[in-house]
């Protein structure tokens, strides 16, 4: 990303290697657990790929009805694919939708097919699911075409802005206005309640709180609007949403189908901040990342969040550890370096002496550890106050760190952070701030050379050292999956989350031997049929 020849920050190569191998050591047992389980949402996502969508008159999605019915009938251990396509081949219904409708009144008898019937069901399932995968492939190709046609942003970092009115029809003009003023990426923040819903709402929505529901239709509407704006501006405007929460796999799937370009997707956010069961999260996450990998979607991880509940100086190394884990899990799921928008944030108490330089140190550490990842740089939130004048100033210095350290994605801070979800004018003022800093001071990288043993480099190495120490400690913990123990102990964000508790645990099932999921097969092999 950075245009320099010599790195600004000199790290011991052996330390870096050691950090990565420890992350692998700590992450691997969790991946093993993930591959041994499935969840209701993974199964629903599979049905969505096969083309099942829509909801009943009470807005309960058909995928939920169908998965619930299968589960009641035969359990989830074999996945839903075999029983569902077996039922279809048995003529229980002419198509998936009708089957789901019938199943919703429990008038379908499911079974786990065996032998030939199983092979036939598996094949039929794969055929239908593959169609969905090919739609994702087509959307990826279409994105490439549009980027070629309209072009990428001229500058790095890319400028990332949120809209959050709760109403998709208010979001759209605000997103377009923001793009015209310089935003490269629009994120539609979700309504506060959504991540704990165990279904994906349907249709265009206007009633979110502090965010707009993530629905397939809202995705489509916003993507279409931004396609228009991309054309108008001669610059491809990217769209982001959240693959977090109980429906992570489904939302990832919808994002792939509707050509979203980036997704918030963190390995631990749901566990820590939504009290979602850790196993549920890791299973869902692996599937959703496999989808993202296929869809060419850039993920954004959520390390910034830890610094809202922990102190940004004391806990700096937990951010690094989480980044290393997110990297490991992402690559394991097939994501490439350019897709890793690893998160970090400007959250040090601004009253601290040298706080700005410490921010530079932390940002440089991330930049240097992950040289080929875009990195997502998050603005101050915790220490923002109702003093909006000061807020805009802090955001300016945040922008300066972003450009000085070559961050890939800059989430634009709002002066009203501590007051309201962003107003249209807040976004305009914030973009003006970004433009000024990038244009007037962007070149300062030429002059920025923290000395080898100066404050900045020393601090960065100290944080890396602490991160290695923490990984060492975690790895040394007894048990099959020491990371789960660490999470239970409150290592991240000071939240204690045992693997046996949390929301959505009842949606997890251990895979049986005969578990079949054509989506996972297609994703893991890269096949298109």
């Amino acid at each position: 990303m950075s245009s320099r020849n010599r790195p600004i920050l000199e790290l011991d190569k052996a330390d870096v290697r050691r950090a990565r191998s420890l992350a692998r050591k700590v992450g691997k047992p969790v991946v093993d657990i993930a591959t041994k389980h499935t969840t209701v949402s993974v199964e629903r996502a599979t049905l969505r790929l096969a083309g099942l969508s829509g909801a009943d008159h009470e807005r309960v999605p058909w995928v939920n009805h169908l998965v619930d019915a299968v589960r009641e009938g035969v359990g989830l251990e074999h996945g839903v694919s075999l029983p569902v396509w077996d039922a279809l081949s048995r003529g229980e219904a002419p198509d998936l939708l009708t089957l789901a409708q019938k199943a919703s009144s429990r008038s379908v008898d499911f079974r786990i097919p065996e032998a030939k019937a199983a092979t036939a069901a598996g094949k039929a399932a794969r055929k239908d699911v593959a169609a969905g995968i090919r739609t994702i492939d087509k959307q990826r190709a279409q994105r490439d075409r549009l980027i070629t046609r309209h072009g990428d942003p001229k500058q790095r970092p890319w400028i990332y802005l949120i809209v959050a009115t709760g109403d998709i029809y208010e979001d759209i003009p605000q997103a377009q206005a923001a793009a015209r003023e310089g935003a490269d990426i629009i994120a539609v923040i979700r309504s506060t309640g959504q991540s704990l819903l165990d279904y994906v709402p349907e249709g265009a929505t206007r009633e979110g709180y502090a965010g707009t529901y993530a629905t397939q239709e809202n995705f489509r509407l916003m993507r279409a609007a931004l396609d228009e704006t991309s054309k108008e501006l001669g610059r491809y405007i990217r769209l982001t949403n959240y693959a977090s929460g109980l429906c992570m796999p489904e939302i990832a799937t919808l994002a792939g189908l509707e050509r979203l370009d980036m997704m918030l997707n963190d390995s631990m956010y749901g566990i820590l901040f939504r009290d979602i069961n850790p196993i549920r999260t890791f299973v869902d996450q692996r599937f959703s990342r496999q989808i993202h990998a296929r869809a060419g979607i850039i993920i954004n991880t959520g390390e910034d969040n830890y610094l809202t509940t922990s102190d940004a100086v004391e806990a700096a190394h937990t951010v690094t550890v989480s980044q290393l884990l997110n990297e490991y899990f992402a690559k394991e799921a097939g994501l490439e370096d350019w897709q890793l928008g690893l998160g970090h944030a400007f959250e040090i108490n601004p009253d601290l002496h040298d706080s700005f330089r410490m921010e530079l140190a932390h940002a440089l550490l991330a930049r240097t550890l992950f040289p080929d990842a875009p990195l997502k740089w998050m603005p101050p939130t915790k220490h923002m106050t109702g003093d909006v004048f000061r807020g805009n100033l802090l955001d300016g210095f945040f922008n300066l760190v972003g450009t000085l350290t070559g961050q890939g994605i800059l989430l634009v801070g709002m002066m009203t952070e501590a007051v309201v979800t962003p107003w249209i004018s807040d976004r305009d003022i914030a973009l003006q701030n970004v433009r000024y800093v990038l244009n007037a001071a962007g070149g300062l990288t030429e002059d920025f050379h923290p000395p080898r043993d100066g404050f900045i480099q020393t601090r960065a190495r100290q944080v890396l050292g602490e991160a290695i120490g923490l990984l060492d400690d975690i790895a040394a913990e007894p048990g099959k999956a020491p990371l789960l123990e660490a999470i239970a102990d409150g290592t991240f964000g000071e939240m204690k989350r045992p693997a046996t508790a949390g929301k959505g645990l009842d949606g997890v099932a251990e895979r049986a031997d005969g578990y079949v999921n054509p989506a996972i097969d297609l994703l893991e092999t890269g096949a298109t049929r």
Partner: protein
């Protein structure tokens, strides 16, 4: 009383303030204020006029549009400076004085032990879809806030912290199970009045679930509640920005621990 120079105003009594004051730019009485807003109309002379019209209705006169900027085609942002004609009457402000004394940790424990003769039970939660627990944790967790330990720290207080996104029925249920003396609820998200909806739904649920007189003491907190709205919300007290755990603990003792004379009388806020 010896006449005091006004420069010791930090502790000044309202009687030392003038009857009427006006905002102060750089001269006493100049009435100067700064305002910014966006109007949903294209920028131009008409929009500037509309901005001045609004400023006029707000009582700013003369008002000057010092900045206007188009946001897209259909919106214009304005910064306006000017003098408001309104007078401010400080003595008419109803100040909700803290109706209880601030107690030390020791006094709190002693009062509960002596007068309640059992632990005071407090159930806390962030309800609805709100997941901002930092505020309620600051009040409840040992770690505390602003150098003061949280309620958990007190031997005589039993704290049950349910965390984030707790459903109201679950909260009611748990309060009943724990025989809660007080229920402490946090609401940080305020967009579309989420905090108001959630709080009134919560208080209604409690009043429905418990017989009159048996409803646990209901306390809400968060950075953006309107002062004086406890009544309308159906709760006993509101705590705002910057509340410390000590204040809350002292309040609970005041409100729930009968100490001979006038205790637990002055409920609402």
């Amino acid at each position: 009383m010896t006449p005091k120079p006004t420069s010791t105003g930090a502790a000044a009594d309202v009687t030392e303030l003038p009857q009427v004051i006006r905002p102060y730019g750089d001269q006493t009485g100049d009435g100067m204020v700064q305002v910014s807003f966006t109007l949903p109309m294209p920028s131009g002379k008409r929009a500037e006029g509309a901005a001045l019209q609004l400023a006029g209705k707000m009582g700013i006169e003369p008002a000057i549009v010092v900045h206007s900027k188009a946001i897209g085609d259909g919106f214009t942002f304005f910064v306006v400076y000017g003098s408001v004609k309104h007078l401010v009457e400080p003595h008419l402000v109803e100040v909700v004085e803290r109706e209880f004394p601030l107690l030390s940790g020791k006094e709190i424990n002693t009062a509960i032990k002596k007068h309640l003769r059992r632990k005071l039970v407090v159930v806390g939660a962030c309800i609805g879809t709100d997941a901002h627990t930092v505020g309620i944790d600051a009040i409840l967790n040992i770690k505390g806030f602003a150098g003061e330990k949280g309620l958990e720290y007190h031997r005589e207080i039993k704290v049950v912290n349910l965390g984030a996104q707790v459903l109201i029925p679950d909260l009611v249920e748990r309060a009943r199970e724990e025989k809660a003396d007080a229920v402490l609820v946090s609401q940080v998200v305020t967009q579309r009045d989420a905090h108001i909806h959630n709080t009134t739904a919560m208080s209604a649920a409690f009043r429905e679930a418990f017989p009159a007189g048996k409803v646990p003491h209901l306390v809400v907190g968060g950075p953006r509640f309107e002062e004086g709205s406890a009544g309308t919300l159906g709760v006993d007290r509101i705590f705002g920005r910057g509340t410390t755990p000590g204040e809350v603990a002292s309040y609970l003792v005041h409100a729930l621990v009968p100490q001979g004379s006038a205790a637990s009388k002055s409920k609402g806020a």
